[in-house]
């Protein structure tokens, strides 16, 4: 019997610019004891769906226009707030995407963990605390009795997500809704969390609705899957048939665009390679592109440029970056955090070096030290034979033009108050590129075209773009100075797989076109493998393994590398079969 039955649900948002049909007439069910995956790109309405069920859609601007959602004789859409509150957190729990912001930073986690018990079960605090500790132990937190009194900021992202899970499950709910719970996490941590959810689901018999944009995760976890696109369900069913034989072109695109470790694509297929939109009578029809198969075929065949291994653009030698742990009052610092601890590598012109490792391993600091954004403690960084470590701002200025960086978070790396035009032309002004205002604007327009954006966007503000578009703008901004060398610092980590594929393709294309040299920093080996020629694996500030990407992937010398490889979800049909049967 279905635990939750959703029928013809419609949630619209009434904004100043018109009605946005975020969820438009969808129906699905959640069976007892199953894991239902909802998959789709951002903006597809998957989050709004579950928020509607939980009664968390802000009204206004949101409004539930129709449909029913039955749970145990309650229509979740119409039942009054008090009843809904008694269900929320008690029988239906929810965990959110970003564990960094979803826990109250001002309260001890013990306080937050026992809160549902206090409210829903009128438990006394002592009892509740005991259960909280048990629950924390269950989600794999060692020394739970002690750490239960910590504050959220004292935990890593993975640990916080465990706390979130513990908090959601503490009341023994029947349904757990997980809204992209692993998206913000490292692959290795993601693997752990997924494993944990799987285990808990079996242990506790809870039904799970799992929302993700990553089909790989669905393949690892879900029993059934619902594919959403632009507010509609385009396909749903058991996980194996859908992976084996996707019907909808969108599903096909989603399945294809993920860089897989085992694939040999030189260009990643993207959703639009499969999907065709045609407008008929104001309605948009989706259909499969007729030549999709041929296109995908062609993608395997793009040639690699030749790399001259002796033409070294960048030489890093014994680079160290140490941060003072806590500065003493009378004496020097009490200790040093060795973020980067004596690493050396070289990058030939026109090649890509992949830098991988878990978060906190020092890869980001390395990237910034190379650009002199953090001052290296010791060691040398030679760019085209010129030493740049320790140069001051003025001396760096001519070099800034030639080496650029693209950051992880496209949301905070663009100044929200500058239009795209300003963002793109300002570097040119500073470095004296372009002769006049209009010349620079033309260049900016050309840059936008180069990153597959329309030149009309010049007058827009960053917030008017999606994350993928913003990242392209960041790339365009980096390119505005016509650099030879770009550090991509987790440039695609925060993106939906489909968008990620587009950006990765773009980067590759630009590299070929402009003979760029990249350092590509990521925690995701599959992405690095796709991008990089050589690869360095970092752990605790040191490089543990270094060499050709293909070789390392094929034969990882270190356990650590192996672990990174293993963490990547296997979304092959074979692995699903193995799991399901």
């Amino acid at each position: 019997m279905a635990l939750i039955e959703v029928d013809n649900l419609k949630t619209y948002f009434h904004t100043r610019n018109g009605v946005v049909k975020a969820v438009d007439d969808i129906s699905f069910t959640l069976e007892k004891g199953e894991i239902l995956g909802i998959v789709g790109e951002s903006g597809s309405g998957k989050s709004v769906t579950v928020h509607t069920l939980m009664g968390l859609v802000p009204q206004p601007p949101g409004r539930i226009e129709g449909g029913t959602a039955n749970f145990d004789n309650h229509n979740l859409l119409t039942t009054d707030e008090a009843v809904l509150r008694s269900l929320r957190g008690k029988r239906i729990s929810m965990i959110f995407q970003d564990p960094m912001t979803s826990l109250n930073p001002y309260l001890r986690i013990s306080e937050q963990l026992i809160e549902p018990l206090l409210i829903h079960e009128q438990a006394n605090r002592k009892e509740a605390l005991k259960r909280a500790i048990t629950m924390l132990e269950k989600v794999g937190m060692s020394d739970a009795a002690k750490r239960v009194h910590s504050y959220p900021h004292e935990f890593s992202g993975g640990m916080r997500q465990r706390v979130m899970i513990a908090m959601a499950l503490i009341t023994d709910p029947e349904v757990l809704i997980a809204d992209e719970p692993t998206t913000a996490l490292d692959v290795t941590v993601q693997a752990q969390i997924l494993q944990l959810l799987k285990d808990l689901q079996t242990d506790l018999g809870v039904s799970v609705i799992f929302i993700t944009h990553d089909l790989g995760v669905i393949a690892e976890l879900a029993d059934r899957v619902v594919v959403m696109y632009q507010g509609h369900i385009v396909e749903q069913g058991d996980v194996l048939p859908i992976f084996e034989n996707p019907q909808h072109p969108y599903t096909k695109g989603l399945l294809a665009c993920r860089p897989r470790l085992e694939s040999t694509f030189k260009v990643l297929p993207i959703v639009s390679d499969y999907l065709d939109e045609t407008e008929v009578d104001g309605q948009i029809e989706l259909s499969e592109k007729p030549d999709a198969a041929a296109r995908i075929e062609a993608m395997q065949k793009i040639d690699e440029p030749e790399i001259d291994e002796t033409d070294l653009l960048l030489e890093v030698n014994d680079l160290c970056v140490h941060f003072p742990e806590r500065s003493g009052f009378f004496y020097g610092p009490e200790g040093w955090v060795k973020a980067v601890d004596g690493i050396s590598f070289t990058v030939p012109r026109g090649s890509t070096l992949g830098l991988v490792g878990e978060s906190g391993c020092g890869k980001t600091t390395t990237g910034r030290a190379i650009l002199n954004l953090v001052v290296p403690t010791s060691g040398s960084v030679k760019f085209m034979g010129v030493e740049i470590a320790g140069r001051n701002a003025a001396a760096m200025l001519p070099l800034r033009k030639r080496m650029q960086i693209v950051f992880q978070d496209p949301y905070s790396s663009l100044n929200p108050r500058l239009t795209i035009e300003q963002a793109l032309t300002e570097p040119m002004v500073v470095h004296g590129i372009g002769s006049s205002h209009s010349d620079r604007r033309d260049r900016a327009a050309a840059l936008l075209e180069e990153v597959d954006l329309e030149p009309q966007f010049l007058r827009r503000y960053p917030h008017e773009f999606s994350g993928g578009q913003r990242q392209r703008i960041c790339v365009a901004r980096a390119l505005s100075l016509e650099p030879e060398f770009i550090v991509c610092d987790e440039a695609v980590s925060a993106m939906d797989v489909s968008v990620q594929a587009q950006v990765l393709n773009l980067l590759k294309e630009l590299q070929a076109r402009r003979n760029l040299t990249y350092i590509f920093i990521s925690h995701d080996l599959s992405v690095v493998k796709f991008m990089a020629d050589t690869m360095a694996v970092m752990r605790a500030g040191k490089i543990v393994e270094q060499g050709s990407a293909e070789v390392i992937y094929a034969n990882p010398a270190e356990d650590y590398t192996q672990r990174l490889i293993d963490a990547i979800p296997r979304d092959s049909v074979g692995s699903i079969k193995q799991r399901v049967t």
Binding site: L84, G89, M94, F96, T101, P105, Y106, I119
Partner: protein, 388 residues
């Protein structure tokens, strides 16, 4: 933590020193002196009074004396020797000492333990009459914790004046702060929760009105209405706790109006800040988490949102609280409250040099302390800061 506090406390010293130095020279440069009055005195009298307070010394020396680095001459008195007179022995009641002073300007303490010095003031060789000034040296200044005697309030030291008046300002300040925080936070929180509804506009309009109505309007207005027309509260005055007057009825009603006047003004500020902070916090993800737990809206606000929402209010409160508990001149004048606020202004208008310096240094210390406390409080409210 203690290390941090200690470090901050050490920093107080140079800051206070700079303040003392600038203020010292500033007040001396201002026209007029503590002694000028509508009825003028003769230059001679003025010079003597100045000499009495050590103001005949060069300014830099007065400064060093004020700091307590240099000793000053105290208990000065003159001994006149007639011709042929060698020495005099006499007793000084006030310092409990017996002295023998010779005509050659030497002095010996016969009884008592202080070191006395003497010098010629006037030595007339023809008549052989000489005048000797006897004094002793004493170092009392900032370093010794002495703020000196007040020029205006004769017989009172600045330390006494602050000690006497600060508790009253503090008491009033605490009431006002309580009112400001209670009204301000409630109004701000409600306004934020019910953003863009009547429950938002109404309290915010009142807050705006509170900012528009200066205390010198609000005070008399409240007095007129609640003191004279409705006769609920006394219009002014400051009765002692447990003293005569109001205590038999349980509480000193004369606190109500001044505390409200001062409180309303700050309540308005607090309301605006709280609203802003709450709006910010309410849009955070963890509020969604709290709602998903099935908490009631009240609990969401009180337990989860308020703490973060109060952060901007708390940082505003540092200087505001220093201002509020060191007294408000306007309020204290309107309600005749014997608090510290009046001394701030009156000392300056009276050119009561020592009192100006004393109150300024006291206020500076308060500000520094409160900024420190605010930082600690913020760390307490926000564990993330605490970690740093």
């Amino acid at each position: 933590m203690f290390r941090y506090i200690f470090k901050r406390l050490i920093f107080f010293i140079p800051v206070l020193w700079v303040i003392a130095t600038i203020t010292f020279f500033m007040v001396r440069m201002a026209p007029g002196d503590p002694f000028s009055d509508e009825k003028e005195m003769t230059e001679e009298v003025r010079d003597r009074i100045k000499a009495y307070y050590g103001m005949d010394q060069p300014l830099w020396k007065q400064y060093l004396i004020y700091l307590g680095v240099t000793a000053k001459e105290v208990n000065k008195h003159r001994v006149t020797f007639a011709s042929g007179e060698d020495s005099k022995e006499y007793r000084r009641e006030d310092v409990n000492a017996t002295l023998r002073v010779t005509a050659t300007a030497e002095v010996k303490t016969m009884q008592g333990d202080t070191q006395w010095l003497a010098r010629f003031l006037d030595q007339n060789t023809t008549t052989n009459i000489s005048e000797v000034e006897v004094f002793r040296l004493e170092r009392s200044g900032l370093l010794q914790g002495e703020l000196g005697p007040s020029f205006k309030h004769k017989g009172k030291s600045v330390n006494d004046i602050i000690r006497e008046s600060f508790p009253k300002s503090l008491e009033l300040g605490l009431y006002s702060m309580a009112i400001a925080l209670f009204l301000g936070i409630t109004a701000g929180a409600i306004a934020a929760l019910k953003q863009n509804t009547i429950l938002d506009y109404a309290p915010m309009s009142f807050a705006m009105a509170g900012i528009c109505l200066p205390t010198f309007v609000m005070g008399p207005l409240l007095v007129l209405v609640f003191g004279l027309w409705l006769e609920w509260f006394p219009v002014a005055g400051w009765s002692a706790w447990g003293g005569e007057g109001f205590f038999p009825e349980g509480w000193p009603g004369d606190r109500v109006l001044p505390a409200c006047t001062l409180g309303f003004f700050y309540a308005a500020m607090v309301a605006r800040l709280t609203r802003g902070g709450m709006l910010e916090t309410l849009s955070q993800d963890f509020i969604k988490t709290a709602r998903a737990k099935g908490l009631t809206e009240t609990r969401v606000v009180v337990k989860h949102a308020l703490r973060g929402g109060l952060l901007p209010t708390v940082s505003f409160l540092g200087p505001a609280f220093a201002g509020i508990i060191s007294g408000s001149f306007v309020i204290e004048t309107i309600f005749t409250i014997p608090g510290l606020g009046r001394h701030f202004i009156e000392a300056a208008t009276n050119r009561d040099y020592t009192l100006v310096l004393g109150t300024v240094l006291f206020y500076a210390t308060l500000i520094l302390m409160l900024n420190l406390i605010v930082d600690i409080l913020q760390a307490w409210l926000n564990p993330r800061i605490r970690a740093q």
